[in-house]
């Protein structure tokens, strides 16, 4: 009989060599560290202290400060909503075998294939002035609903939600699949109701996955720009401001400083999430 071992962890000589990390590390180095160094150098161009001035400028100018705050709020709200919406579907996908399960999973991951710009156009097709939703509402209720919503905050929120759903569902499904169903079954035998089991067993067991999923969806939303570029009339986010600074005025230093803020915030969120996700004990 083979000794029992936790799945996924293979200590000792049986595991793959750490050398396999090299290609990924090399890629990451080239694709992340080099651009990061360029960004820092660009933002710092000119006088000493220019980097700090540029970074402070993002916070000091009202429109970039608002855009950053908008992005933080929107990303947090979208991530929480995506997680809340995806918990049940993820559990279903992980634990039940039902006809159409493969199709459902496929459907939920479709948004992964679309760039933000395409999601923006989708939002206009659905919730634009002559979008599908207002047209249907006019046909059914005699008056339009959601007309032009695509250009306002609700449209932007829905567009972001659309592309965060697959990320949340797939991450949470994996987490549900790793959970030991025996514990839940035991609790049921001991008479615990569904709510109590969810609060006392499922949620604590899922905590690392929830935190990790939040960090991923939050960072992706914070850095996303395509949907906002197409949709936002006034509600702006920092990536769009960086784009505008760079393309319309050629202000490299300003755009780079905004990029550095975004990168720093994403890194901090990921680091905190990694710490939080570490199993306690």
């Amino acid at each position: 009989m083979r000794p029992l071992r936790a799945p996924g962890r293979s200590p000792g000589p049986a595991g793959p060599s750490a050398a396999w990390l090299a290609p990924a590390a090399l890629f990451l180095g080239v694709a992340f560290l080099v651009p990061l160094a360029t960004l820092v150098a660009t933002a710092a161009r000119g006088a000493p202290g220019a980097l700090w001035l540029a970074l402070a400028g993002v916070w000091a100018r009202p429109h970039t400060r608002h855009a950053l705050a908008n992005g933080l709020g929107l990303s947090a709200a979208v991530s929480l909503a995506a997680i809340a919406l995806c918990l049940l579907p993820a559990e279903l996908l992980a634990r039940r075998r039902f006809p159409g399960r493969g199709a459902a999973r496929l459907l939920l991951s479709i948004p992964l294939a679309f760039s933000g710009v395409i999601v923006g156009f989708l939002a206009i097709v659905m919730l634009g002035r002559v979008g599908v939703v207002p047209s249907l509402a006019r046909a059914v209720f005699g008056r339009p609903f959601g007309e032009g919503l695509a250009y306002a905050l609700p449209g932007l929120f829905l567009a972001y939600l659309f592309f965060e759903i697959p990320r949340a569902v797939l991450a949470l499904e994996a987490a549900f699949a790793r959970m030991d169903p025996e514990v839940d079954a035991a609790a049921r035998t001991l008479g615990a109701g569904p709510v109590r089991r969810f609060a006392r067993i499922t949620l604590p067991a899922l905590r690392p996955a929830l935190v990790g999923t939040f960090a991923t969806t939050f960072s992706v939303s914070l850095g996303s720009y395509g949907a906002a570029l197409i949709l936002s009339r006034r509600f702006s986010v920092l990536p769009v401001e960086a784009y505008q600074e760079f393309t319309a005025f050629g202000n490299d230093a300003g755009a780079c400083a905004m990029a550095l803020w975004l990168a720093a915030i994403s890194l901090v969120v990921s680091a905190v999430a990694a710490r939080e996700a570490r199993p306690r004990g």
């Binding site: 634009g128 250009y151 197409i230 393309t247 005025f249 050629g250």
Partner: protein
């Protein structure tokens, strides 16, 4: 087994891409701001490829963005040429981003529509107008004047491009300010009007919304007249082109050869060709007025509004417009786009 099939497909695809790249015989000229639905660039570049085999790929940048990109790439140019609304091309030439070239047919361009040194020249002209999708107005009458556009019945129905993206919109922004009594130093009158108009604006796009207007998503687009005529006559849309009562602005659309253009010979040949009667007639199919007199067929000329309407279009001073461009665009961003 499955993954092997997948790998095979990936291999075939990669091979196709490589063979296309390796065949490399395909010559290209890179033109920044080459939007297929604007001034019939799609038709013009397709005709050029068919005649010469040289490809001029589409490029979605508006003039302002094209200018910023060429400036950015100054040390290592990617573009061979660029197309701009007049003032933006003037700025590019002033900034030293162009090299002098006088394409064949130079003498056919009127003197006030070209730089004497050959740094920029006009290929065709347009006029700022309201392009109105009459089936999308929801019962409201077709607006006839700038004053009409402020009426509450047009709430959420008016669109003009972000002028930091597109030169057509910058022409409108500058022209409106002049029309309302401002000048190249005083932007207040124009911005005051646009601030009021903001209540009716659906969005300030940074991409071509030609198709949105055709579909009725955008009922009123303030843009170049030719794009509206094309929607009406080439795409059979329910579109009416309106020259506003108080007046409007004509807009030379210019080109220049980028300093350090990577394909100089091909580019000169292409720029020469764009002034031939053949190419000029092709632009007129997009309802932009050829700069070379006589290139437009009577049939197409007859589809424009009567000349009396165009008498209300003023010419703008490109030098003043160019000098104001950075400050005016920034003022627009602060006062309109970023206002809350």
């Amino acid at each position: 087994m499955k993954s092997r099939t997948l790998l095979a497909w990936i291999g075939i695809l990669a091979g196709l891409c490589l063979s296309r790249a390796a065949s490399g015989q395909e010559k290209t000229v890179i033109q920044y701001d080459c939007i297929p639905n604007y001034a019939n660039w799609g038709g013009v570049t397709a005709l050029y490829q068919q005649k010469t085999g040289v490809r001029v790929p589409p490029d979605p940048k508006g003039s302002s963005v094209a200018l910023a990109a060429i400036e950015k790439e100054k040390e290592n140019p990617v573009a061979d040429t660029a197309y701009y609304s007049g003032a933006i091309g003037y700025v590019a030439a002033q900034k030293g981003l162009h090299q002098a070239y006088k394409p064949k047919g130079w003498e056919k361009i009127p003197a006030d529509l070209k730089d004497p040194g050959g740094l920029w020249w006009t290929v065709h002209t347009g006029t700022i107008a309201f392009l109105v999708n009459t089936s999308a107005l929801g019962g409201a009458p077709v607006p006839r004047s700038w004053a009409d556009l402020l009426k509450p019945e047009y709430r959420g129905k008016v669109v003009y491009d972000d002028p930091t993206w597109g030169g057509t919109s910058y022409t409108m922004l500058y022209g409106l300010n002049v029309l309302m009594g401002g000048d190249e130093k005083d932007f207040r009158p124009g911005l005051d009007y646009l601030r009021k108009l903001d209540a009716n604006v659906l969005t300030y796009p940074r991409e071509s919304i030609y198709n949105g207007v055709l579909r009725g998503e955008v009922p009123i687009w303030i843009n170049a007249d030719g794009n509206g005529y094309k929607m009406k006559h080439a795409d059979n849309g329910p579109i009416e082109v309106v020259i506003p009562k108080e007046g409007t602005f004509s807009m030379p659309l210019v080109m220049g050869m980028v300093r350090g253009a990577p394909h100089p010979e091909e580019t000169r040949r292409y720029l020469d060709w764009l002034l031939t009667p053949e190419a000029q007639a092709e632009f007129s199919k997009g309802f932009f007025r050829p700069v070379v007199a006589g290139a437009i067929s009577p049939e197409i000329a007859g589809k424009f509004l009567p000349p009396a309407e165009y008498a209300r279009a003023r010419n703008l001073d490109l030098a003043k417009m160019a000098a104001a461009s950075d400050a005016l665009k920034k003022a627009w961003l602060e006062e309109i786009r970023r206002s809350r």
